[in-house]
């Protein structure tokens, strides 16, 4: 095991030949390890469970998922927030790190962007699955109708719908635009239907000077557009709760808290997928341990921001004058949800302390376990925002501490992971999950810097 702690290890070997980069990445499109197909089948199974549950629920009604009054939202909305949160990773890695010129992002931003797009698609599904009359979902969209019926523009759910659609279209655009030069490389190396496929996608990219200039400007513009959008999306999701009147939700600090949580779970998911991709596609040359080390440090920083905001929330409730909110906080810590609530605090605030250790950051296995625990914590966090408020609201008669989400809810939650996995793996099989042109650029810059250093 090489020692990365001395600052000598490089993010990427600067002697990789450009042809080798092409070869290594293009190979991932044709010959993955067996693990890829194993994971693919596993995802397909999970997805099938979800589909079966949804069909059953569609036919019979939402009651089969064991909702009741007051527990009207349950796991669907919790998992919706979870997936929306995951979608922030791509924007962070691609757009924010792009603008601040952190070039270690280059080998890993492509799959992070794909994660953004696919987790948004998954989140969008939950909004639909959750509806009582899914077949009428278009009522919530502001389309011109002959009856002059508009949605209710006061409702945070409508802001949600608009924000998510905007974010989804923009992130698809960002992912696509950023991949055009790579599609051209694929086109040049492909045969058969693939040739056709990549020719269409690469939009006639020839790599001329003029094309590169336009490309750079477009990419930067979308990146700048995407950053405020990402912040607004999760702020608006937070508004679903903060704008309501319920104890535990009516919290002013929710928007930044949600954004921090989103970046946090996004980073943790990047670590997980980093390790999975590195193994399944043999990307050891590109997804290097020093880069994982940097992502680990970034995750730690965001974890501490989240922890801080979490305690701000507790403190403002504890020292505030809202007896319902305070009662709910005590209920969370001592009631039937307490194992999950303490679990969330443990996974969210204590486990990231492991990232302080250099040996943890240097071990893929340890990082994998830590990242999964962090994401478990973040999923619990969302559940602990949604469920306890329903179980312990304002009105004592309707407090219900015993409700447990039914099998259908759990099945659909599992199915969503399958759906995301399927989309993501299909993506990795069809689109280069490491950005070839940016890695080349990175190698080139390093070589230049070395040459300058030698000459000076």
């Amino acid at each position: 095991m090489p020692d990365f702690t001395k600052g000598e290890e490089k993010d990427i070997r600067d002697t990789i030949a450009w042809a080798q980069i092409n070869g290594d990445v293009l190979r991932s499109l044709s010959k993955p390890r067996f693990a890829f197909w194993a994971l693919f089948t596993f995802a397909l199974c999970l997805f099938s469970i979800g589909v079966a549950c949804e069909v059953y629920q569609w036919r019979r009604g939402l009651g089969v998922a064991n909702f009741d009054n007051p527990h009207v939202w349950g796991l669907y909305i919790s998992t919706f927030i979870f997936w929306i949160g995951m979608s922030h990773s791509g924007t962070l890695l691609s757009a924010i790190l792009h603008i601040i010129h952190a070039d270690w992002r280059k080998p890993i931003y492509r799959f992070a962007e794909a994660m953004t797009t696919f987790s948004l698609m998954t989140a969008g599904l939950f909004v639909l699955i959750h509806l009582g009359r899914l077949w009428k979902f278009y009522y919530s969209l502001p389309y011109p109708s002959e009856r002059m019926l508009w949605p209710n523009f006061q409702s945070p759910l409508l802001w949600d719908a608009i924000a998510i659609f905007t974010y989804l279209t923009s992130s698809i655009l960002f992912l696509y635009v950023g991949a055009i030069p790579d599609f051209a490389i694929c086109r040049d190396n492909a045969t058969g239907w693939r040739k056709h496929f990549y020719s269409m996608l690469s939009l006639g990219w020839m790599g001329t000077d003029r094309q590169w200039r336009s490309f750079r400007v477009t990419y930067l513009t979308i990146a700048c557009f995407l950053i405020p959008l990402a912040v607004s999306v999760h702020s608006i999701v937070a508004s679903d709760f903060a704008m309501s009147q319920q104890p535990g939700w009516h919290v002013t600090s929710f928007p930044p808290y949600f954004v921090a949580g989103a970046l946090y779970s996004g980073c943790a998911a990047i670590i997980t997928l980093f390790i999975v991709l590195r193994y399944t596609f043999r990307f050891e040359e590109y997804m290097t341990m020093p880069i994982l080390d940097k992502v680990g440090r970034l995750t730690f920083a965001i974890a501490m921001v989240w922890t801080y905001l979490n305690f701000v929330e507790y403190a403002s409730v504890w020292y505030g004058d809202d007896m319902y909110a305070k009662d709910l906080l005590i209920q969370k810590a001592t009631g039937p949800y307490s194992p999950f609530w303490w679990g969330m605090n443990f996974c969210g605030s204590v486990v990231p302390l492991l990232l302080l250790s250099k040996s943890v950051r240097g071990s893929p296995t340890a990082m994998m376990i830590v990242s999964l625990l962090l994401n478990l914590g973040m999923w619990l966090e969302r559940w602990m925002i949604v469920a306890p408020t329903f179980s312990h609201g304002y009105y004592p008669w309707t407090m219900d501490h015993d409700q447990w989400p039914g099998f259908v809810q759990w099945g659909i939650v599992l199915g969503s992971f399958g759906w995301f996995g399927l989309l993501f793996m299909l993506f990795c099989k069809l689109v280069p999950s490491v950005s070839m042109y940016e890695v080349k650029e990175m190698v080139y810059h390093r070589t230049l810097a070395q040459r300058h250093a030698r000459e000076a």
């Binding site: 019979r60 939402l62 007051p70 009582g132 919530s140 949605p151 759910l157 304002y394 009105y395």
Partner: protein, 286 residues
């Protein structure tokens, strides 16, 4: 309209609800209730009447235990802890239905605007528009909104034969996936209002009653038009010194509640509910 003018005439656009001027908000009708808990015996007649009048599905024992019951009107039973040694004093009962809030928390959050304030001060629920996001229920402090978790008219046996024959033709049975709640028996109100309009007058006090008020054997539920100062309900509200547009009543500032029993539930949340409750008087020596 220029921005400057808009800010100058801001008062014209900004509409406080309720404004405090009942006559301006509701020139003709403002339906309201007063429930005297001292008279209520907890007999549940109102609940049965509500089920019959409004085609409320009976869900069966299993679903009731799962909390999936649909009772628009529920009788809540509370045992006062202080009465533990004197159980013969009995439990306290509280009939609870949609409070028809004047600034209802459920209305602002509905993404499709399926729940709205009507000109006569009701909180309406438009079944055809509802998509079932359940945000209204999430934001309701009283949790008096009931969701159709199952397809009661088609797939379930909420009304085994020949019970479908007794369904009220004046209103629908609701399909799965939509929210419903107490409407103050809007079908009766609309019929009475229509008759009165034809005769060129307003609805007289006592001319129309929701099923619960009509069937209450002890007369605990008083219903009427708050905009009519001579109606029984308006007199009770005045007598109890409770005003619709206040989140803290003047009498509550005096320390002894003005010597009256009237209160509204969770008034401080500023939903401005239209149901006044009169506290039960306990004989502490019994």
């Amino acid at each position: 309209m220029s921005i400057t003018r808009m800010f100058r005439d801001w008062d014209k656009y900004r509409k406080a609800s309720p404004s405090g001027d009942l006559e301006k908000d509701h020139p003709d009708y403002k339906w309201a209730m007063a429930i005297d808990l001292d008279i209520c015996t907890g007999c549940n007649a109102c609940v049965v009447a509500c089920y019959a009048e409004n085609n409320v599905p009976t869900v069966g024992k299993d679903r009731f235990e799962h909390g999936q019951t649909m009772h628009w009107l529920r009788i809540e039973r509370y045992w006062n802890e202080a009465d533990a040694e004197t159980p013969h004093r009995g439990a306290q009962f509280m009939p609870m239905m949609c409070q028809q809030c004047a600034a209802a928390p459920c209305e602002t959050v509905c993404p499709v605007g399926a729940t709205n304030q009507t000109p006569d001060g009701l909180n309406s629920q438009v079944y055809n528009r509802c998509i079932g996001s359940r945000y209204c229920s999430a934001n309701c402090p009283y949790k008096v909104r009931y969701f159709n978790w199952y397809d009661y008219p088609e797939q379930e046996v909420a009304w085994p034969e020949p019970l479908p024959m007794q369904l009220n033709p004046d209103l629908t049975v609701r399909s799965k996936g939509i929210m419903e709640k107490c409407t103050f028996c809007i079908q009766r109100l609309r019929a009475a209002q229509s008759t009165a309009r034809t005769e060129g007058r307003l609805v007289r006090d006592g001319e129309v009653l929701p099923a619960c008020a009509q069937s209450c054997p002890s007369g605990a539920i008083v219903f009427g038009n708050l905009a009519d100062p001579y109606s029984q309900v308006a007199k009770l509200w005045r007598q109890q010194q409770v005003e619709l547009h206040k989140d803290k009543q003047d009498k509550d500032k005096t320390g002894d509640n003005g010597g009256v029993r009237g209160y509204r539930i969770l008034e401080e949340l500023r939903a401005y509910p239209s149901v006044l409750y009169l506290e039960r008087v306990r004989d502490t020596k019994a």
